[in-house]
Symmetry: C2
Subunit: 571 residues, 2 copies
């Protein structure tokens, strides 16, 4: 049995090694265009930032052995042909045509089973000047090394990153934090990580990036990259603004690399090579995995494109098992995501509100702000959590979280992620049994609270507004239609009442039952506390006395502050 | 509508507040024997350790308001009768008899709905001297304050803790870390946290505690507590050993407090008051929640006792909703657990191997050691993870994890916990989509690896031994029946080969294919690498050439080291 694998980054090597473990007698040949193989492209920003001091670490094992062709030959029994391109497939004869990119020599490899792990290719927007010197789309380790060399030679003072997705943000941190480069991110959509997280959460991320000196230009299209007389990048024209730059990183996403599959006549969709749950293409002797395949979204049931080394690895194992005669299925993806941005961790799983609405779901938005440890435990931090819930079915479609304590943030998201394929409802979250001890959580976990708040919202009891809705009401404050009722303790509310009267009034929740008479009855009321919990209780009390034109600010002052909004300019 | 609630610690207050939110017109009266109410008993060790500087923080809100009778009256509209005992129930008349513990005055409260949240009572073993001065079972904040006062007055130099459960361990840390008290834990069972975690994991915990100066005496029964002439504790006789002590903490567990329910003729099992999923007792007008009720284990389907403030809170909300006319169900528990012990976090969910076997499951044991972040990311730490898998069904019954990076450890456990009620198999773990970025995880997550290793073990491909089994084989090394084959890189294996030859040989995995001839064919082979992954690959290679009497050490040298075993005494 001979298996040929095209692509040796993530899915390819994983499949290769699995096959050799299960079927040691199989001959496994892996070809790759590059000379560096089996690497973690996800580590590039950490190489640029200096966290990873040597490039080799990105293609070494845990025990510091370089994963090169020798390693695959000796440790794994897998033959690797580096700097070799697969240029065609004859499916009838079961042959792959390959070309050595150094010698130009072409060869034919026959196969019993073929694996396509051709990955993705960067989408390069058709901008004038995009090929100028100093413009990079960082997709492999060679680019990474080149950019780092430029920086180390002191040639980079100002960088523009085109694209506010994960790579753009990670690169912004790397360039700013370690090297003091002046970084501007240009994003075409209204906010960062569009389609991944929602507006309120993305505002928190934006504020944090700005706090660390990164400039953001959203809603902006890059029209041109201008160069100096030597052909080197000089500035980026984003909408009407000229941004000086001596380095431009193009991080506008990647597309599945399906050329080889397409030319071989395999079924291919715009999202990638079409595979079944065994990861077989429309030709049962050809498997495919990694960035080049279409994935099934377990929330919507639709085929989607995903670029992820982690998912590629899972694909690889499934392919390996099935080629070796076993049976293993890859059911689909729930689109989990996490990113570090300076001190902040942003994570999500499933669909954010915007993505769910785009898919036609009618959703209710839920935002919780809660401590990640017992309130009396010294290292506690606030966590900001958003849940996407389908209105009719009460089904949980996704979750997003932001916080300083990254492992705790991603832990909550993973806890939701693992349930998603079982189609959980808000009830499942409400009684979810999170392990509890004061140093690691709260007796009522943020996930329980999210379920509870969702239930209260679905029942029409908790009627909330988002931060942007709050701001729009605040701007109308002089109209007299709305009053802003702060139900925090007097000491907390005082600076607001002092500066923002008569629009801002304070009746602490603790005294509310006694002071009901003070509540204005001629105005709509925006209720505010620190996290949105006490304000909910007040909303219920007001309902009881017939005052029902009330709006609870989701996440309260804590969420507002986290988005950088300071109504009293307390700096 | 009048609701009477007996018990004002966790389930009681939660139910009370929920009822008042949903049904503001209801009259809610809560009685409690104590004058301190609505507190987090789980915080006691952190009060003793000084992490929580003021006792009030344990019964304050997140926004630092003390949860006393005034707070419940004004903030929540709930009437609290402190220092009041419920001494009987007339179910026909729907009346509760109460007694003021200060004045001795008795009264009758009529109810429409009654909630029993009577909690648990410490189990005090019948040991001679158990009532001596200086012996405490820390169940409420008064005990906590008394013990802290003793310590602060310098009266405690040596403490004995009876019971190696959660409270015992947390108290050991508190006393040692902050106060330099000489602590010995006496545990009746063979290891710490019996029934919660398995031997190998508990050995890691033991080693860590000893590293921090805590002494452990397992397999030992306390026979007597001896006092000096003033009646003050002097020493604890544990099996044949006399342990000097000027403080004894009895942490031998708690039992459900079901007296009131039992006397009222409600259905009560040894595990607690029997309730349905709505948390109704056998009398539909009487609800019960918290430590006093029997919980349904979602793994075994059996009724069990659980003491947990976190679960009590979830019970409380369900009770509140149902009494207020809604419908909410509490399905059962998966027995999630987490504890901090100095720098270590130990967490579990579901059943450990020992507990599963006791329940009649035939299980396979799986232990993984893996980094919690990308191997190239600076802050990475090893995590030690054990999975309990039912052999016939491949069902995941539980998981345990230990590590330094506590939030990451508990995050993994919670991720498994949330799946457990859906009866996941090892396949569900194998392809589980954990959010991945280098600062927060590995491309193949430890949960994926656990699923994969379980599958390899179920397939008979990965044949492993535990640490204790390894040690027993090591003790027989001179018999010549076994050889210990170290497949790590030469530099790592060298000290072992030098000191432990001829029993210990080294053929690095990387060179193995070329050096197959060196493998002894006349002995059974124990294969060892750093974490158990490379040794698995070698096991497969040896299978291929007909050498199948091989045993892979689960978790490898990393697990061995974590349990404090040092074969070459490298200190």
């Amino acid at each position: 049995m001979r298996v040929v694998i095209v692509g040796a980054v993530a899915a390819g090597p994983k499949a290769a090694c699995r096959i050799k473990r299960l079927l040691p007698e199989a001959e496994v040949v892996m070809v790759d265009k590059d000379d560096i193989i089996s690497y973690g492209a996800c580590g590039i920003p950490y190489f640029i930032s200096g966290d990873v001091p040597i490039l080799e670490e990105l293609f070494s094992t845990n025990y510091h052995v370089v994963r090169d062709t020798d390693f695959f030959a000796n440790s794994k029994g897998v033959k690797v042909l580096p700097q070799t391109e697969a240029i065609g497939i004859d499916r009838k004869k079961k042959e792959v045509f390959i070309k050595n990119l150094v010698t130009g020599k072409e060869e034919v490899l026959s196969y019993d089973k073929l694996v396509l792990a051709t990955g993705s290719i960067p989408f390069i927007p058709p901008i004038p000047g995009i090929n100028a010197q100093g413009v990079f789309s960082i997709v492999n380790l060679h680019d990474a090394q080149t950019v780092l060399d430029l920086i180390k030679r002191g040639e980079v003072e100002r960088a523009v990153i085109i694209g506010g997705g994960a790579i753009g943000i990670e690169m912004a941190e790397a360039l700013t934090d370690m090297w003091g480069v002046d970084v501007t991110i240009v994003e075409m959509m209204p906010h960062l990580l569009p389609g991944i997280i929602d507006t309120d959460i993305s505002l928190m991320l934006k504020t944090h990036l700005e706090m660390h000196g990164v400039r953001l230009v959203c809603n902006a299209q890059v029209k041109e990259i201008k160069t100096d007389e030597t052909g080197r990048v000089k500035e980026v024209i984003a909408s009407s603004e000229a941004l000086p730059a001596d380095l431009v990183i193009v991080a506008t996403g990647v597309r599945p690399n399906t050329k080889l599959a397409q030319e071989a006549g395999l079924l291919v969709s715009p999202q990638g090579i079409v595979v079944n749950q065994r990861m077989q293409t429309s030709d049962p002797d050809i498997y495919a995995g990694g960035d080049c395949v279409e994935n099934r979204c377990l929330i919507t049931g639709k085929g989607i494109f995903i670029s992820s080394g982690s998912i590629a690895n899972r694909h690889g194992r499934v392919i390996g098992t099935n080629i070796a005669g076993g049976l293993e299925l890859f059911e689909g993806v729930v689109r989990s995501f996490v990113i570090k941005a300076f001190d902040l961790c942003i994570a999500k799983t499933g669909l954010c509100e915007e993505a769910a609405q785009k898919e036609g779901f009618e959703v209710i938005p839920v935002m919780i702000v809660q401590l990640d440890r017992a309130h009396f435990y010294p290292t506690k931090q606030l966590m900001y959590f958003q849940l996407t819930v389908e209105k009719n079915t009460q089904r949980v479609l996704g979750a997003q979280a932001v916080g300083i304590n990254g492992d705790a943030v991603v832990g909550k998201i993973n806890t939701v992620a693992s349930m998603l394929k079982f189609k959980p409802t808000v009830d499942d979250l409400s009684i979810l049994e999170i392990a509890y001890a004061p140093p690691f959580g709260t007796a009522v976990d943020i996930l329980n609270t999210a379920g509870n708040v969702a239930k209260n919202t679905l029942a029409g009891k908790n009627r909330t507004i988002s931060i942007s809705e709050f701001l729009s009401l605040w701007q109308q404050r002089t109209s007299g239609e709305y009053i802003f009722l702060d139900v925090r303790e007097t000491a907390d509310a005082k600076p607001y009442v002092e500066k923002l009267a008569p629009y801002w009034i304070n009746i602490p929740q603790r005294e509310f039952r006694k002071r009901l008479a003070e509540v204005p009855t001629d105005k709509k009321i925006v209720i505010i506390c620190n996290t949105g919990m006490r304000s909910y209780e007040i909303q219920l009390l007001l309902d009881k006395i017939g005052i029902s034109q009330t709006f609870n600010l989701r996440g309260g002052m804590a969420a507002l502050k986290m988005t950088g909004i300071d109504l009293v300019d307390s700096r």
